[in-house]
């Protein structure tokens, strides 16, 4: 068995993992019940020593008093061979939360208690006699979650845009204030006004008719 090759987000989570179903693995064992063995130490488990549903392989005692448990029993009918193309045929180990603390359900497929690593294999039993098995899988390690306080939220520094805006606007404001001060100091009193900028009303030159006679025809004597 191995972690599924399907593209699933939840292939491993903190307390579950997903295996491919053992399709086309156990042929000729139509009468057998196929169990999944999940172990923390693969060398301790002995196929013949304990059967499923006994306290020696109960999920609820895992991992304190029991080093391996057996779960997810199915007959070969559940795993028809060949697998139809396009179907997602997986087993989610750790999905049953309702029986996790229920000692009367020792074959519960409960959530795994820690990150592992776990070894799994499939075991086919006829009655209580093991007739076939797969090899142990590679060690499967689950995800560990970090605390959110480890997220760095220090100020990311100021972007170039903000620095540019601040600098340029400060300079502009400073120039304006300096110009204002200069304007008031030098031109506050009457010393700057020049006649070139004179006000519209004051430059009306009133046409003054002198009593001057123009175009008087020459007096004809």
């Amino acid at each position: 068995p191995a972690l599924t090759r399907e593209q699933l987000e939840g292939v491993t989570t903190a307390s579950t993992f997903v295996l491919d179903q053992p399709r086309c693995t156990f042929k000729d064992y139509g009468n057998a019940v196929i169990w999944l063995v999940v172990a923390l130490d693969k060398d301790i488990f002995n196929n013949n020593s304990a059967g499923p549903g006994t306290p020696e392989t109960a999920f609820q005692s895992f991992p304190e008093s029991v080093s391996a448990y057996m779960t997810l029993n199915a007959t070969l009918d559940s795993y028809p061979c060949p697998k139809p193309a396009g179907d997602i045929t997986v087993l989610r180990v750790g999905s049953e939360t309702s029986c996790a603390k229920d000692a009367s359900r020792p074959t519960c497929n409960g959530p795994l208690p820690g990150p592992g690593p776990y070894w799994v294999k499939f075991l086919a039993l006829e009655g209580s006699v093991p007739v076939a098995e797969t090899a142990w899988s590679k060690p499967i390690t689950l995800r560990t979650a970090k605390s959110p306080s480890s997220i760095p939220t220090a100020g990311s520094g100021h972007s170039a845009g903000m620095i540019a805006i601040t600098a340029i606007l400060s300079i502009l404001l400073a120039i304006l204030l300096a110009a204002l001060v200069a304007m008031l100091v030098f031109c506050g009193s009457d010393s700057c006004g020049s006649s070139t900028f004179s006000k519209p009303e004051s430059v009306t030159v009133r046409r003054y008719n002198t009593h001057h006679v123009y175009d008087q025809p020459a007096a004809r004597l």
Partner: protein, 256 residues
């Protein structure tokens, strides 16, 4: 004399034109800031909860600055045409005050863009989403906002559903990892609000859960608003700078 008369008229014309532009830009700035303030898109409660609503402070200042610019531009036009020293002095001083306020608004809006990193939002989400404390109102706001956000935008978490797996959270404290690898709002929901395929969602089969993060949906509109307020304000201020310098030069040349 004719030539300097022409110079005067050209300068007056330029100043009037400059003030007209300032007046119109003031109205535009007011309109833009009213839009930003009254269009607080869905993620606003999250921003408020992170105590980072600089963009709203900047926009409120922008509304009043815009109106002030419009009023002052009218004053400026009258002052230039009448060549009145007092009017123009009042105009210059009030414009400088408005300049300072708009500068503050522009810088605030630009700063806002810096501080909205995805990490701040991620931390806030992990610490407060579904935090089961019925007394704390702002946490319930955060939860409601996130649920709305995830449902409407079909997204999950800040960077993706893996946020809920990578970090422990208030949500994880009350919901077991096996039953809820990520919140139900991350699942594809049917018309009644129930997951279309709960097992598919828990497994993470594409099509039954939202695989992308919500950060783009959240930060996009806010950053656009902040960008608009900051840079439009900057452009107006640069133009105002030129007009003010011209006005000061004109003022110093007016006969008393």
């Amino acid at each position: 004399m004719a030539k300097s008369d022409d110079c005067v008229h050209i300068l007056q014309g330029l100043l009037v034109f400059g003030n007209v532009v300032i007046g119109m830009c003031g109205i535009a700035l007011t309109a833009e800031c009213i839009y930003v303030v009254s269009n607080p898109h869905g993620a606003y409660p999250l921003l408020k909860a992170t105590e980072n609503s600089d963009i709203h402070a900047a926009a409120w200042i922008g509304i009043f600055v815009g109106l002030a610019l419009f009023a002052l531009s009218i004053l400026g036009i009258i002052g230039v045409i009448k060549a009145s020293r007092t009017l123009l002095l009042v105009y210059i001083i009030l414009m400088l005050i408005t300049f300072a306020f708009e500068m503050a608004s522009s810088i605030t809006a630009a700063t806002h863009q810096d501080s909205q990193t995805s990490n701040v939002l991620l931390k806030q989400m992990l610490e407060r989403y579904q935090k089961s404390d019925p007394n704390n109102n702002s946490d319930n706001e955060v939860t409601k906002t996130w649920d709305e956000l995830m449902r409407q935008n079909h997204c999950c978490g800040v960077n993706g559903p893996s946020d809920w797996q990578k970090y422990t959270s208030a949500f994880r404290d009350t919901h077991s990892d096996a039953d809820y690898p990520w919140p139900r709002a991350c699942c594809v929901l049917d018309a009644k609000g129930l997951p279309v395929n709960l097992d598919g969602c828990k497994l993470g089969v594409s099509g039954y859960y939202n695989s992308n993060g919500c950060y783009d949906a959240m930060s996009g509109p806010v950053n656009t608003h902040a960008w608009g307020v900051a840079w439009f304000g900057f452009a107006i201020l640069c133009w105002t700078f030129c007009v003010l310098l011209g006005t000061m030069f004109y003022w110093s040349g007016i006969e008393y």
